[in-house]
Symmetry: C2
Amino acid sequence: MKNDKITSKDVDFAKWYTDIVTAAKLVSYSEVKGCNIILPNGYAIWEEMQKGLDKSFKSTGHKNVYMPLLIPESLLNKESELVSGFAPEVAWVTHGGDKELEEKLCIRPTSETLFSDYYSKVVKSYRDLPLKYNQWCNVLRWEKETRPFLRGREFLWQEGHTVHENSIEAEKETRDILEIYKKFFTDYLAIPVITGRKTEKEKFAGAEYTLTVEALMYNGVCLQSATSHYFGQKFSKSYDIKFLNRENNYEYAYQTSWGTTTRMIGAVIMVHADDLGLVLPPNIAPTKVCIIPIGTDEKVSSVTTTISEKLAKENISYMVDDSDKTPGFKFAESEVNGIPVRIEIGKRDLENNTITMVRRDTLEHISVSLDEDIMALINKLLLDIQRNLYNKAKSRMESMTFEAKTIEDFKNIINTQPGFIKSSWCGKRECEDKIKEINGIKSRCILENEELTSSKCPVCGEEAKEEVVWGIQY
Amino acid sequence: MKNDKITSKDVDFAKWYTDIVTAAKLVSYSEVKGCNIILPNGYAIWEEMQKGLDKSFKSTGHKNVYMPLLIPESLLNKESELVSGFAPEVAWVTHGGDKELEEKLCIRPTSETLFSDYYSKVVKSYRDLPLKYNQWCNVLRWEKETRPFLRGREFLWQEGHTVHENSIEAEKETRDILEIYKKFFTDYLAIPVITGRKTEKEKFAGAEYTLTVEALMYNGVCLQSATSHYFGQKFSKSYDIKFLNRENNYEYAYQTSWGTTTRMIGAVIMVHADDLGLVLPPNIAPTKVCIIPIGTDEKVSSVTTTISEKLAKENISYMVDDSDKTPGFKFAESEVNGIPVRIEIGKRDLENNTITMVRRDTLEHISVSLDEDIMALINKLLLDIQRNLYNKAKSRMESMTFEAKTIEDFKNIINTQPGFIKSSWCGKRECEDKIKEINGIKSRCILENEELTSSKCPVCGEEAKEEVVWGIQY
């Protein structure tokens, strides 16, 4: 049944996206551009994401902290590359109460400066290392273009910041975190990703290198979904984080930082949702099952109660929609909200000793006898849905991954069907810039241990050294 | 064993407090006054507090959301009482990037304005009500005096904001939340509290009335620890939150708000900690048991492993300190960190088939045979400690609760031993002001269903109408 509040995604993808965000009550707009209200349906998904990632961070020895919101201008200025990267987009606090401040304070766009300043005070010896801290917080970036979840002036994220006694350990951390993100996208969000290293042009300001998780949206546009940066000694030199190493010499420490944001909610929408609304992978669905009793029959309520109690006992999150809306309205609402499994309990079905289960991913209706093991079926269904969503997204990503050996190839692909474009590259910035000129394609990442598509750079024709994925980005 | 980094609480309570905060690694200072870094040990306690309260809020039908950090000046100005209460202490953002903003934006000191603005857009009918939202976030208040956890320019808190179709329901919400807070203080934080209504002078700007949870610190100073406000229709009139009621008439909605902050960590310190460090009630201790193996004997490691595995299986949080520090250092550290139970596993004890358990609250050493049910003993010990901490704090509070019938009584109490001072009151603002003149004593709350201490107001001598608790406040 078509939802008339949602534009078809094949007609107008951008409109479809904002329709979903509104219809599923994920976000509402506030009076300040780019600073959105995250509504209960949206925030509950974020809480599931936090739970999943936080567990992985903690089980690998990371600890949560909270750094201040405000950064003095002088502290921010210590790391010149970071400043030039962020200065145009920070918000400045100039007054406290009715007094002008002696030094203006910026609202954190990210917290490298604060962590580094703190580390410079407490790291004295290799015995103090490693320090592996993370924080969940809000950040602000004064973006011109904004879109719910994808690009906001204020957004929520986690940012990990670690210090190590040598580069081997710090680089291992950078990679371990990339793996945590990749696993989270695959196993929780049911989103297949590619990972690799950003080019010098696209890396984080101030990093030695940036590793990235890149996902492909339904419309072929790429989304940078999580990043893990290796800083080497760049920040430690700017912020004077020195320690006595095992050889009893002073040495600058080795750092990393890594983060992911509420943007992940945008990715889940643009990979899985359809024209009826959200489609949530069971592993991050705040409500996994929606029970809709049809009518007020006594048998209907008793079966509803029995199944509810079993779900509660099995720790499967569920809701019962016993409001006075029509069944049709309730069905549509559970679909808009993307709840993985709907159970319809009606008098007529019960006469045949059955209930109906509906999968959100395929909309398949399954008639189930009450004599069956309902909980086993639900658990199997949730697993199936999770797996099916991943497989569907993976096939789509594969079918939208192209190879380009020439500039002409790039143009043809972009003009017919955007996606991930694999191409070999000589490594020169000029050639990267040139490819960007073509329809705004940016490099997504340099693939590792990957065969070259071609022996020559498609721009300059010189020897290709690296295999790179390119694409249009959000 | 005295900790030489901690001043004795009976010598200099203020110094003792900051020593504890530093020695237990709860907080570190940042470059911006009043904006502190919450370190892993501090943040882990906050996470336990969040978990406990969040569960209570959700189980009573509240949903989490996220409102923006920034409030346009014009929106803030809509509620005049709120503005006059907060204007002197908000921080203003005037620039985004290098451009001056058209309208300056304040960093939220609290979010009534944002919630009310949102509610005005979505509340149309009594069918939309109630809306019971909460958020966990950071807020900023440009305070002059700041102290870690007790008063900060930036702090973390939760703020609940609800809308109802009538005053009965909204007032019930105000009281239900007060009960949730009270229960949390009693059952989790092991802190006895008094609750009641704030006077007109002390209530929240813009509220019809404010209910409050007040706790008494070790030194007799009072701490306002959580508040629950009934707004009636005050905000709904300023922000135009109108709905069609059951009689099909337009009516302004009824609202509440309520909050508590990281200040609770300050309360836990000032009620339970001693000269050796923190003392954490087991119900909010991030780590409940610290195992210290003494020496490298094989039997020592095997018993350590056995007990660790049992704790993990029972879901009791624990740590094993197998670092190369001396046992004495480790004992002291577990004491500074306030871990409720310490288990010392040493070769000599094991020769007698025993281990030693040490309670953090009483420092009592208990020799335990390995033949006993160790897990049952630990569980019992954790319960005992929780109960003992509450009972100790309760006796102290009772012994520091005084009655004043005259102005002289007030003076004597304050000069000898501050605490909660119960006194009857005529209800007039002038008399309240007069009592404040005496050593800065403020009213804490008006007690409900309480017998009057005296039939006359101690200031004016007129008929007393209410029983009020007074005290020095943080």
